[in-house]
């Protein structure tokens, strides 16, 4: 693109941004106030968790989150369908190896903490899963071909588990007459924890496997033997 054309495009984009900002200000003025946030807070005691974000994700709009997990799965299946992963990185030098030995267990521990704390404070399956995924990325960078994950068939089970447990809970509540994903009040807390635990494992596996970038190698050579 010539300089003049890119200048014109930037100018147009700038004008468009200004227009959208003006419209957004109009929209804000149209309905001042907290919108649904107040209602979400009022209903919190009935949601079995005390963190409003977790209540929205796992209870009020749990069906959205179920589909979000399916989106992650579709992305991983798409990556796997493109063929084998490229060979990983060189085995790590001593400094990186020592760091990985320290950081990976800490990440897993912190992930577990975030999963548990999500019921009443910021945290939850997506944050915890992201930490597990990060642990996988570090292992892969340190030369572990499969990013610390088990064989392909186990990876498949792990990646599917989040959506599967979520959908199974939904169909079970439906079968017991409460409606799709409508938790009975006494069980809600434990059902949400069950779903979040499976989702954490699935998200962690999916992110790490996506970073590997292809079908997992059968017999990874880079597994460190200790």
């Amino acid at each position: 693109m010539s300089r003049r054309a890119s200048l014109a495009v930037s100018l147009l984009l700038g004008l468009l941004t200004l227009l959208l900002l003006w419209v957004f200000a109009q929209a804000l003025a149209q309905q001042p106030g907290p919108r649904l946030a107040e209602l979400a807070a009022t209903e919190l005691p009935r949601s079995a968790v005390s963190n409003p974000v977790t209540a929205v994700l796992l209870n009020y709009r749990a069906y959205d989150t179920l589909l979000e997990l399916a989106v992650l799965l579709a992305a991983l299946l798409g990556i796997w369908s493109l063929g084998a992963a490229s060979p990983g990185y060189q085995p790590a030098g001593p400094a990186l190896e020592v760091m990985a030995d320290w950081v990976v267990p800490l990440l897993i521990l912190t992930g577990g903490y975030l999963l548990w704390v999500g019921a009443h404070a910021p945290g939850g399956a997506f944050q915890a899963g992201a930490l597990l995924g990060a642990a996988g990325v570090i292992l892969r960078l340190a030369g572990h071909q499969r990013a610390g994950l088990p064989s392909e068939s186990s990876q498949r089970l792990l990646a599917v588990s989040g959506t599967a447990v979520f959908a199974a809970v939904g169909l079970a509540t439906l079968a017991f007459g409460a409606g799709f994903l409508t938790y009975p009040p006494d069980w809600a807390k434990w059902l949400i924890l069950l779903i979040e635990t499976a989702a954490t494992l699935a998200i962690g596996t999916t992110l790490a496997a996506a970073y590997v970038g292809g079908q997992p190698p059968e017999n990874p050579e880079g597994v460190r033997s200790r």
Binding site: L19, L20, W22, V23, F24, Q26, A27, L28, Q30, Q31, G33, R35, L36, L39, A40, E43, N59, Y60, R61, A62, Y63, D64, L66, L67, E68, A70, V71, L73, A74, A75, L77, G78, W80, S81, L82, G83, S153, R156, L157, A159, V160, T163, A164, A167, A168, G170, L171, L174, A178, G179, F180, L181, T182
Partner: protein, 479 residues
């Protein structure tokens, strides 16, 4: 039992099973396709009896929770999706050979179906965005399954375009939520007031969806993506995925942004539709490959559907408007069956001849009589010859154009029809140019029959028995 949740839950569970056990993916996939068809047709049957269905996953209800909803329009599209997807699944079970990567086909296929049903049933603007993400990702991954560089490149572009469309749509949803504090379609429709906010939201959401529906001039990504995918995937992309985006435009304009649909806005969509009809048909006529021809013909067919917007806008509520809407749905269904049949048949031609260059297709009628018959039947529906469903659709479209005084749309329909006749007969003329008569009508039933049945449905079933569709679309149900 909540039939709406089942129509989404059943294909989802089947997709998970096929993903978890790749060795049995095909058996699980076929069983899942059958179960999903039953669950989908149950929704259609219940809408037939009761007029409309609504259920609330989570039990919170709008505005805090979200809802699923089905009326005649969504029920008709869900039934079409079920039949096309089932026939395509049976075809795929015979089409893929080892090494053709069928392993990832089945879970992605069922996830695509989940997203399609989810889109047709969603009653929440944000939930639609999630469904579109699932639909776009599954569709792009399926499109790249063949593994050829051209298919991967086209699918990557398709993925990026789809993301751009979703993001634009999401920007509109954010504006709607900011201004009205709810995401439920009915509640937004009740609260909506014309003004710059609602107008911008409508432009952003329609624009994003038009990109996904490949409305002219935003169609540039479609021909390479649809023409380079494997045959079952091309069929689903052209017949179903594009339709889902179009359905959402229709839904938003009819039910949510109703006070904003001005004659000028409707005419703009109509004008783009007319351009799509002429340009798509012309490019189809000039196409050198059969699958590229089918892909450009999809651009034209989306154009026909858009021609209905100015007519619907100009027709006051009543029988005439209901007829027009039914004609629109009938054309969408006919195209769904015809185009999937055509793509499946084209895939068989490509497999048998090793290529799909139209000029070198001589003797196809002798090698694959049933498949050639399918192409001819699908072509009949694409042209709009009687007794196909699109004949009735085009007839009502032109009648309404005369009645509302918008005769200029007739010129676009006529040009498109002539060009369609030309490109269909160009293929058939090549296919029949060898002498010896065929020995057998069917060569491989498992793959040829689904294509034939889909094409036959578009011509005979939808054309000769279109009455039930009118009854299904009645607000109060048929029975």
């Amino acid at each position: 039992m909540d039939s709406l949740a089942l129509a989404i839950g059943v294909p989802l569970i089947a997709a998970l099973a096929a993903a978890a056990f790749p060795a049995r993916a095909q058996a699980l996939g076929l069983a899942g396709a059958l179960a999903t068809t039953v669950a989908s047709l149950q929704v259609t049957a219940l809408v037939w009896q009761q007029g409309s269905l609504r259920s609330e996953p989570g039990g919170w209800g709008a505005p805090l929770g979200l809802a699923l909803q089905a009326d005649g329009l969504s029920a008709a599209l869900i039934a079409m999706t079920a039949l096309v997807a089932l026939a395509t699944a049976i075809y795929a079970s015979g089409y893929f050979r080892p090494g053709n990567r069928p392993r990832e086909f089945w879970p992605l296929w069922l996830l695509l179906w989940t997203a399609l049903n989810g889109t047709f049933l969603a009653a929440d603007l944000f939930n639609l965005y999630v469904n579109m993400e699932l639909l776009g990702l599954a569709a792009a991954a399926l499109g790249a399954l063949g593994g050829q560089p051209a298919a991967v490149a086209a699918s990557l572009r398709y993925l990026l375009i789809g993301l751009l469309g979703s993001m634009t749509y999401l920007l509109g949803v954010a504006l709607v939520y900011t201004a009205y504090g709810t995401l439920d379609m009915d509640l937004v429709a009740a609260a909506l007031r014309p003004g710059p906010v609602a107008g911008t939201a409508m432009v952003l959401m329609t624009g994003g969806l038009a990109l996904k529906a490949a409305l002219f001039p935003l169609h540039f990504w479609l021909p390479p993506a649809h023409a380079n995918a494997t045959a079952p995937v091309s069929a689903a992309l052209s017949a179903l995925v594009v339709k889902a985006a179009f359905y959402l435009v229709l839904r938003l304009w009819l039910d949510v942004f109703t006070p904003l649909v001005t004659p000028a806005a409707a005419h703009l969509i109509g004008l783009l539709g007319a351009a799509a009809v002429v340009w798509g048909s012309w490019r189809a006529l000039r196409a050198e490959r059969l699958k590229l021809l089918a892909a450009y013909s999809t651009v034209a067919q989306i154009g026909y559907l858009c021609l209905f917007f100015p007519l619907l806008q100009a027709t006051p509520p009543g029988t005439a408007r209901e007829d027009l809407l039914a004609a629109l749905v009938l054309m969408a269904l006919t195209h769904g069956f015809a185009k999937s049949g055509l793509f499946l048949a084209a895939g068989l031609v490509q497999q048998s001849a090793g290529h799909d260059r139209i000029k070198e297709l001589g003797g196809t009628a002798q090698h694959l009589p049933a498949t050639t018959f399918s192409i001819a039947l699908a072509g009949t529906a694409l042209i709009g010859l009687p007794p196909s469903g699109s004949f009735i659709g085009k007839w009502l479209l032109m009648t309404s154009a005369v009645q509302t005084g918008q005769w200029w749309w007739i010129a676009a329909v006529m040009t498109g029809t002539l060009l369609a006749a030309a490109y269909v007969f160009r293929v058939l003329g090549q296919a029949f140019n060898l002498e010896p008569t065929p020995r057998r009508f069917l060569t491989q039933g498992r793959t040829e029959l689904p294509a034939l049945l889909l094409a036959l449905t578009s011509v005979a079933v939808l054309g000769l028995a279109a009455r039930p569709l009118w009854q299904l679309l009645q607000p109060g149900g048929a029975a």
